[in-house]
């Protein structure tokens, strides 16, 4: 039986043109709403699958404002059994602060009798893209860490994990307890069902507060990269365009000639 903790972050949804808030400290979500990154959607799915395969439970955790309850409930709706909200003013939190905050919960739950054999996270956050929390969390917990993972399962005392490497599929085996940072592509996240959604609405959420003082250099501001002019090449119109489309698909490697 493996208990899995999956960590998520409330981030603005994706769109073609990113807007920043006026103070340039965050991405503006006004048109796109809030979600979690595709990596984290896959992490949640993996956590649920691993927990189900071993008879354990998946718990979802976030560090942030109470608005993130929405994302916790989304995870509860698709099958997480418990949820933890660490309420914190994360505006000035860096990756190390977030990692420490998560580590505190993992240790506290261990004291209270729940050990998380596996902690899964998204590879990097969709808004800030720091790519650090997984590694720093593993360091704080003195656990092995794998990043860029697509799928994983528990085999006895080890976790067997796979991810795409530069030369093809890489397979890892590390001893439990471990930390795994997930990239999208390995599993298809499920959608909630209506009963799941209603169960999630009523599920209790453990709420903690973290008033730590952020360490590190902090963020000055976010900046949008200069807009890339888009180049459109029209391949043709109607049936006459078909050969050109086929050539392009072959060139992209989507289909074989």
């Amino acid at each position: 039986m493996a208990n899995v903790l999956v960590c998520i972050k409330r981030v603005p949804g994706a769109s073609g043109q990113i807007l920043l808030t006026e103070d340039e400290q965050a991405v503006d979500a006004r048109h796109v709403g809030w979600t979690v990154s595709p990596h984290e959607e896959c992490a949640v799915e993996l956590a649920i699958q691993v927990a189900a395969a071993t008879g354990g439970a998946a718990t979802v955790l976030t560090v942030g404002s109470s608005d993130a309850l929405e994302q916790l409930r989304d995870a509860l709706a698709v099958g997480c059994a418990g949820a933890v909200l660490v309420e914190a003013d994360t505006q000035h939190f860096g990756p190390v602060d977030v990692a420490e905050s998560i580590a505190d919960v993992v240790r506290a739950h261990e004291v209270a009798g729940t050990t998380y054999d596996l902690v899964v996270l998204g590879n990097d956050a969709a808004d800030t893209g720091d790519f650090q929390v997984g590694v720093r969390l593993a360091y704080a917990l003195e656990r092995p860490v794998l990043t860029g993972i697509s799928t994983c399962e528990i085999d006895g005392d080890t976790v067997v994990a796979r991810g795409d490497g530069p030369d093809g599929l890489e397979v890892f085996e590390v001893p439990l307890p471990a930390v795994v940072a997930v990239m999208e592509g390995g599993v298809s996240p499920r959608y909630p069902s209506i009963p799941g959604r209603m169960k999630a609405k009523r599920a209790p959420v453990e709420t903690l507060t973290d008033s730590r003082k952020p360490v590190g250099s902090g963020r000055v501001r976010l900046k949008l990269p200069p807009e890339q002019p888009s180049q459109v090449e029209i391949l043709g119109a109607g049936a006459d365009a078909a050969p050109a489309v086929v050539d392009l698909l072959v060139k992209l490697g989507v289909v074989a000639k």
Binding site: G13, A14, S15, G16, Q17, L19, R30, H31, V32, G33, W34, E70, R73, D74, R190, Y191, P192, S193, I194, P195, G196, R197, M198, K201
Partner: protein, 838 residues
């Protein structure tokens, strides 16, 4: 970057269902050099059409909306994009069943096949619906779904095949140029287009576009939440888009509609979520499309639970997942009606906005006809953009009213129901005094109008059962027997009526007489001091208004018309002023207030406060003149809409309160009472057979059909003269009649009183059809206290339009016997009009 032509005969902005329908119909009617643009790509540029649920329930309580819907269905069918599924409106409560019975009235009135069915009958066709949750349903077999995007493509292509249309996608409008009050140019990201006719068919973006030209399209983008769940095993074996009937769960304001293997659940139950047009994201900024906003799950959760109750096996299946969920944007207007027609602010700039997929093609045809010759087949008075008063165009008003109306989308709305929000916006000068008199206010275009006065409650004892009390709560809602008591007191003594809600405008200048003469049907070349009541008709001979015109001087006419339609009338006149500037329209609505004094004691009353000679010999009917009333200068006009001796008294707005007080003080000894609009608008006029615009009169009715022919037609030319002469020569296809209800007793012994909108049928319930192919329905209903009868007005087939004809009215699915009491405009009360001439 797409580029646009440098000029066009007409530019249609928007390629949703409305713009696409419009370009097709314009092309069909002979328009060429049409340019249609949209900022999004085709066929789905990202507006509301792209995410519409695309189903159509034809029955609506509104005749015009039903006509537009049925016309749209015919067009969708002709294009091969309509799939009939049938549809149920299900009731969870007895109160809702009663509303469904009322819906049956509308179905019968508009000739649409529908029936009330049991829960078991619903479950037979929809086996995954739990019949124990509902008490019954309203079944309409002709309900169906359409492919509105495909329809749009077909219509654009048809216009292109005619060589009439050039479509340019992905260009955004950046400005609309206006010169001397007329639109001249559309500026776009792909270049400028010179055009003097431009149509805004931009759905939720329309207000933003109109503002570029200084015009107003008063709608707001509002959220309609929708989810799609699947895969549903119960739907797995079906083929095509839909094979099970659509369910409207009326009491929870939700619908469930099959879409292939998925089930869509939509809601009008969540809190109103209103947006500003300026805040809609661009295509690049949007997550899905600009009008598919991020789903706010918390708002939808309560609806999920209710939907689950109704379809537990489908929606309660843990394998059935919520695969798509949006806060879809649609357009709402402060009065719920579409916004169509040329803007009153800018000539040549048209609006075709606030239209649903179910009305789109019909509206496209209507606006195209309107743009072509000014006379669309269907009446447009309720959707004319000119109808709004300035306060109704404010953002706050729009938000208040649409916010209030949103949750009534599937609501049970009483025909007399009043708005609760944004009231007290237009107050008569005597408003404070009316509050002291216990006025119960109804609102008309912002005006707070006393409908009856609690201070008259004592009259109930005086008149006893003659006030025709109503025992059923629905019939008595938004009504009081005090109305009928005020009526009897006015007929016996005198009544004082606040008419501040009139719209008033002057036509002035050396060309005034010729201008008015060319617009109205009645002879306007009369001596100064004459008052003329007249129809206003269009080129096809349909009613555009009925109003009174006072000739105040050689070059000065004053037009007085109902407030509800006043702004449309003003535009109608203004549009027809001579090009040489010899006559012009000047709005006086906020300048003057009007008080009516009527009844057998009216002359005594007015005579006690004026030294003017107001005897019949000196001040005959149909005359107007300035008189002194106390120290107030008053324009008195001897006419009446209640069939009594008396006057309309016009004073500057600031003198309305003193005149009101003066009349009441003088009226006490004559037994005069304040009388509300309940009498003025219903009981008084019905007894006299007076027709009302918007009820008996609209653009689909003629003077002949309404029984309002005068012996002669003036020689001078006027709008619609030719059509009118032809109508006079032919037998009418339908005839307006007044009917009495012979027995009010329902099956359970309750006395029931119809409120309007009910179908008139044969005594045995068999349907009647007039020469237009229309079923008769009650245009107005109300008490006739002086006759002790409940009266109905209805257009009947000519062979039934004879006094004594025995028919029936269907009310809440029961038949009540009625008899035709007048087959023309003959009043049932005082048929010789002795009182008015007294």
């Amino acid at each position: 970057m797409a580029t646009v032509p440098s000029s066009a005969r007409v530019v249609v902005i928007g390629a949703g269902i409305v713009g696409n329908s419009l370009v097709y119909h314009l092309a069909r009617l002979g328009w060429r050099d049409i340019v249609q643009i949209d900022k999004g790509p085709l066929p789905n540029p990202g507006g509301s059409t792209g995410h519409a649920s695309n189903f159509i329930f034809p029955v609506d309580h509104s005749r015009e909306i039903t006509d537009l819907t049925l016309d749209s269905v015919r067009q969708y069918q002709e294009m091969g994009v309509f799939t009939e599924s049938g549809g149920y409106e299900v009731a969870r409560t007895e109160e809702r069943m009663e509303e469904l019975r009322r819906r049956m009235s509308s179905a019968r009135a508009w000739g649409i096949e529908s029936e009330l069915v049991t829960p078991e009958q619903v479950a037979e066709k929809v086996p995954f619906l739990d019949p124990t949750v509902i008490v019954g349903a309203f079944w309409t077999p002709s309900v169906g779904v359409v492919d509105s995007l495909r329809a749009g493509t077909i219509m654009r292509e048809r216009a292109q095949e005619l060589g009439a249309l050039q479509v340019v996608a992905t260009v955004e409008v950046t400005g609309l140029d206006v010169e001397e009050g007329r639109v001249t140019r559309v500026r776009t990201s792909g270049g400028d287009i010179d055009a003097t006719t431009v149509v805004i068919a931009c759905g939720v973006w329309s207000p933003k576009l109109a503002a570029m030209a200084g015009a107003h399209i008063p709608l707001t983008p509002a959220v309609h939440q929708m989810i799609s769940v699947g895969p549903v095993p119960q739907l797995a074996g079906t083929t095509g888009e839909i094979s099970f009937p659509i369910i409207r769960d009326m009491d929870t304001f939700c619908y469930e509609r099959q879409h292939g293997g998925d089930m869509e659940v939509g809601s009008y139950a969540h809190r109103p979520i209103l947006h500003d047009p300026e805040d809609i994201p661009s295509i690049e900024q949007a997550k899905l499309s600009p009008t598919e906003m991020p789903f706010t799950a918390d708002d939808f959760d309560p609806q999920l639970e209710q939907a689950l109750e109704l379809m537990p096996d489908v929606l309660g299946n843990p394998e059935v997942e919520i695969r798509y969920a949006i806060n879809g944007l649609l357009s709402l207007t402060p009065d719920g009606a579409p916004i169509l027609g040329e803007t009153p602010e800018v000539q040549g700039l048209w609006s075709a906005a606030a239209v649903w997929v179910k009305e789109g093609p019909g509206v496209g045809r209507l606006v195209a006809e309107w743009m072509t010759d000014g006379t669309p087949e269907y009446d447009v008075s309720n959707s004319d953009i000119a109808r709004f008063y300035p306060h109704q165009r404010t953002r706050e008003h729009i938000k208040a009213r649409t916010g209030e109306a949103f949750n009534k989308t599937y609501g049970i709305v009483h025909p007399g129901e009043q708005w609760a929000s944004d009231r007290d916006k237009r107050l008569a000068p005597m408003h404070a005094r009316q509050r002291e008199q216990g006025a119960f206010f109804f609102e008309a275009v912002g005006w707070e109008r006393p409908f009856w006065y609690a201070s008259n409650e004592h009259l109930l004892g005086e008149y006893g059962d003659a006030v025709m009390p109503r025992e059923h709560e629905w019939d008595a809602r938004w009504w009081s027997p005090i109305i009928n008591a005020e009526h009897l007191a006015m007929r016996e003594r005198a009544g004082i009526v606040d008419l501040s809600a009139f719209a008033i405008f002057d036509v002035v200048g050396p060309g005034a007489m010729a201008a008015v003469q060319g617009i109205v049907v009645a002879q306007a070349d009369v001596a100064p001091g004459r008052v003329v009541y007249t129809p206003v008709i269009d080129e096809r001979g349909g009613f555009r208004s009925d109003l009174t015109v006072m000739r105040l001087g050689h070059d000065h006419y004053r037009v007085v018309t109902g407030g509800a339609h006043g702004m449309v009338d003003r535009k109608w006149f203004a549009d027809r002023m001579p090009a040489d500037g010899t006559a012009s329209v000047v709005d006086q609505t906020s300048t003057y207030t009007t008080i009516g004094v009527w009844g057998p004691r009216a002359r005594d009353l007015l005579g006690s406060v004026t030294d003017a000679d107001i005897s019949h010999e000196s001040f005959g009917f149909g005359r107007c003149r300035d008189i002194e009333v106390g120290s107030l200068g008053v324009l008195a006009s001897r006419i009446s809409y209640v069939g009594e001796l008396g006057w309309e008294l016009y004073v500057p707005m600031e003198q309305g309160a003193p005149l009101w007080d003066l009349l009441h003080a003088a009226g006490a000894e004559h037994g005069a009472v304040p009388v509300g609009i309940g009498v003025y608008g219903t009981t008084g006029r019905l007894e006299k057979g007076y027709r009302a615009f918007g009820f008996e009169l609209d653009a689909e009715r003629t003077i002949v059909e309404a029984g309002m022919m005068r012996p002669k037609v003036k020689d001078a030319d006027f709008v619609g003269r030719e059509a009118y002469l032809k109508q006079r020569a032919d037998d009418p296809a339908t005839v307006l009649c007044t009917l009495t209800v012979d027995d009010h007793t329902s099956a359970d012994g309750t006395q029931r009183y119809m409120l309007g909108g009910e179908p008139i049928v044969g005594r045995d319930g068999s349907p009647l059809v007039d020469g237009h192919g229309h079923r008769p329905y009650v245009t107005s209903a109300g008490s006739a206290p002086s006759l002790g009868k409940h009266l109905l007005m209805a257009y009947l087939p000519p062979d039934q339009a004879v006094v004594g004809s025995q028919l029936a009215v269907s009310y809440m699915e029961q038949l009540y016997p009625v008899t035709v009491a007048a087959g023309d405009a003959t009043p049932l009360f005082d048929p010789a009009n002795d009182r008015i001439r007294g």
